[in-house]
Assembly symmetry: C2
Homo-oligomer: 526 residues x 2
């Protein structure tokens, strides 16, 4: 992608005109694959063939074209056509995907499960990263896999712990599921990206300043610096946008274009502000997405609301499809050595174990804090465990690691990650429908999800705690205090933030939910 070789100096024996022509043909191929993916995904969905979700279809198309590229190596070098610039990835593909994941969080169920989601995302991801990292390190020590230094194992552990919700959530949407499970899976996988990135960056900085990296305390401070710094910058930009749209008076019908132009510039602004400050743009744009959806969005005129919701959905699905195609293509043309295969096999084993440790231990903690009628049932825990496939975020960090780490190490991590993404998407993605059905977490609550609004289906969530959870150990009391503070955050939001940052408080709740619900219903309507 990206090369219309106008600037690039003599990159071969061909005259520049032909270079340009070849680049055009390459992009043409990519666009055709995109179109094909969308059409194939649509056909599969229409025929309710859940064993091959859209992401898998894109991967397979990439695999097939990559296979052809391998065979026909001599004459037309397809690989050269498919050149993929990382700056294109980091500037144009990744930001819309991450923003959209924040932007499409339904605020209500997200906030009412806030405590649980935070536990899974922060503590859980931390557990999963450390366990994966340690196991990979041990695997290297006993020679069953490629040997990496401890800190690089930790980097790998962090990046491979970034889960991707897309495929599982789209199956949830097709089949219908409990709103709380949906919120848990979605919220966890969204916030977990932010934590995984921060962990990765912390480990990476430890690696480059190896001397000072011994203190565990320093690590924690670095992590908090990245995480809280990026989050604050993202939330700050989001709040500024909310105030701008509240007071600028742009929600008049004939200013739609201006309104939308400004709206779509803000996420990018947030991304670049964080990068400029040396923080994580991805984490920042994620929180900007959450805040802009929750506050700014309701300050827009109605037609602009429809537009921006469709706009971000459109560009993120284009970007995501493209990335999956690329990953399939990359796996097909990559030269695989035996050490890679071993590394991939054991890594998959380890991440399954690590995710089990993450989900079941965090669920235990959350259940300690919740009253008995609001426990997370075992089948939900299993569904959460099962839904941890890897996607674009892990791929992005692996791409980064190629530059952060020495030649062989980075390459191994990159290849392993791509393979893990492809395998988990194909295997887990293909079997999710069956597994979720056998766990009985889909289908039965069908009407809840669509027919009623979120408020009504809030059954066991948003605990009131006024009933006085008397019995319990000290840990339980602590946890309940934490959960109470999450609940008080909801109150803060309702009483102060929402009135301050939005113009039409009464309507805003309905407006917020609207596109989300329509889309969900849309996915399942055929």
């Amino acid at each position: 992608m990206m090369e219309l070789n106008v600037t690039v100096p003599p990159a071969g024996s061909q005259p520049p005109g032909q270079e340009q022509q070849a680049a055009g043909a390459g992009i043409l191929l990519q666009i055709s694959m995109l179109v094909l993916s969308f059409v194939l995904g649509h056909l599969l969905r229409r025929h309710k063939f859940y064993y091959l979700p859209e992401a898998s279809a894109s991967l397979l198309i990439g695999l097939v074209v990559g296979g052809f590229a391998n065979v026909s190596k001599t004459e037309m070098n397809l690989r050269k056509w498919f050149n993929f610039h990382e700056e294109f990835f980091f500037l144009f593909l990744l930001p819309p995907i991450i923003f959209q994941s924040g932007f499409s969080l339904a605020p209500k169920p997200f906030f009412s499960n806030f405590g649980a989601i935070i536990t899974f995302a922060i503590l859980g991801t931390f557990i999963a990263s450390v366990i994966t990292g340690l196991l990979v390190y041990l695997g290297g020590l006993i020679f069953i896999m490629y040997r990496l230094p401890l800190v690089e194992c930790m980097m790998f552990g962090a990046l491979i712990s970034a889960t991707d919700p897309v495929t599982v959530l789209s199956i949830f949407q097709e089949l219908g599921t409990d709103m709380n499970l949906y919120a848990l899976v979605f919220g966890e996988s969204v916030l977990n990206d932010a934590v995984a990135i921060s962990l990765y960056r912390t480990m990476s900085s430890v690696r480059s300043h190896a001397s000072s990296g011994q203190h565990f305390f320093v690590l924690i401070v670095r992590f908090l610096e990245t995480f809280i710094g990026s989050m604050s910058s993202g939330v700050g930009v989001g709040f500024i946008s909310a105030l701008l749209f509240k007071y600028a008076g742009l929600d008049v019908d004939n200013l739609q274009n201006l309104e939308c132009c400004l709206f779509v510039l803000f996420p990018y602004f947030s991304y670049m502000l964080a990068e400029g400050l040396g923080l994580s743009g991805i984490v920042s744009i994620l929180f900007t997405g959450v805040v802009m959806k929750h506050y700014t969005f309701s300050n827009l005129s109605e037609s602009s609301q429809h537009f921006v919701a469709a706009f971000f959905h459109l560009i993120s699905s284009l970007a995501e499809t493209f990335i999956f195609i690329y990953m399939g293509f990359d796996i097909a043309i990559e030269q695989h050595s035996l050490s890679h295969v071993g590394f991939i096999f054991f890594s998959i084993l380890f991440i399954v174990v690590a995710r089990a440790a993450n989900v079941f231990s965090c669920a235990y903690l959350v259940n300690l804090a919740r009253p008995s009628n609001q426990q997370i049932p075992m089948k939900h825990q299993k569904a959460l465990w099962y839904s941890g496939l890897r996607g674009a975020m892990a791929f992005a960090l692996a791409l980064q690691s190629v530059h952060d780490l020495p030649e062989g190490h980075g390459k191994t991590i990159f290849t392993a990650t791509t393979a893990i993404v492809v395998l988990t998407v194909l295997l887990i993605g293909g079997s999710t429908g069956t597994v979720l059905e056998s766990l009985e977490v889909v289908g039965d609550v069908h009407d809840d999800l669509v027919g009623e609004s979120f408020e009504e289906s809030n059954g066991y969530i948003a605990p009131s705690y006024d009933e006085g959870a008397s019995s319990g150990s000290r840990l339980r009391t602590r946890l309940q205090e934490f959960h109470r503070s999450a609940a008080s955050f909801t109150a803060l939001d309702k009483n102060y933030l929402t009135p301050f940052f939005t113009s039409q408080y009464d309507e805003s709740e309905d407006l917020d939910e609207q596109p989300q619900r329509t889309r969900r219903a849309g996915f399942r309507g055929h």
Copy 2:
């Protein structure tokens, strides 16, 4: 733009982290300038300050920031921050602008003025290019300006003849004007780009195969090859998209995202197909825009129609604003020699003369063919002459010429073109309101434009010719035949093409006009 220097090898003394940070800050600056441009443009329009149209405001912002960059050269090298990749320009900025200009052509008045528009765009642009080229060559011969070989003068003549409608049209929209004048100015400036590109490419290929370039006949064939080839590929892709959307049955409400994804991929497909075939992507995407608006658009579901219209409007205004900012910035930081100033001064003189020759001679021919009640009045001719400012397209071709021509020549053409664009936008753009008012072509027909549909205001256009234009020389007869064939094209469209390529013929006309009219009304509503 575009550098998140992940891939780029050691580009300085800074560590890669800081590189990335600096790039982030650079893009941040660009986004801030974009936001500022939109806000400033909006304020100016709201206060009806027509001396500084939006494009000029963007240019001025670029000039000011560029000025700062010049002053503070030592510490923070702003110029490095503002690195502008040409591939970014040709892949992401230019295609949406050109597509949008084709896509926003209102089909009715465009087709009913088809003959006149074709005359101005093809014959007129040819005349203007040749005259400008010859004058610049003569200027070089008598030492009043930088001396270029004849073929390079012709290339310059071609690229500088690509006019830009944006500023003038937005003033027309603000003030209201005759529908026919609007269609002439818009249609001419849109198609004229295609002709200018084809001429430029023809001359460029003559330059690289200097031996065979002597035959005038070969030139004509080359020109037709590029023009007709690119046009056919664009029209072909447009027709395919129309059929796809007619028969795929995607216009169900819940498939909006799929529908829009496919729709926005087609223009890009057309662009890359033409580039891959060695033709002009720009010309191709332009005609794809015209065809997709006229046929494909009406096969979309209603919500998708609203979305794609807003989508292309959004990205093209972002791209356009960015280009104008960049041009201002570039002029401010460029090192200007005295030879450049002379070249710029005389070039402006020559293009004014050449455009006069273009407009008045073509108008004479058109008037010969039209019955007396349908003549193009002198004040319209003057308005057409005056509205020939230069914009993004000339800039793009000048950027190209830097690579096509030897060092000093390309640089001179690029600098001169940028300066001409900036000056014409500032001077002509600023005075258009006043001049058009003094010509009495704006304001008076206010109600015609908004209140009535295009059909009703078709007063003197779309000549029926059945009345039998008896008197006339042979030339006149010929011209009238040509015009009759243009009219029969309208009939062909109405009777065969539209029913074949669209699903709802009866509605399609209304649907086609809708967004166009809304937007125009929108611009003027405050």
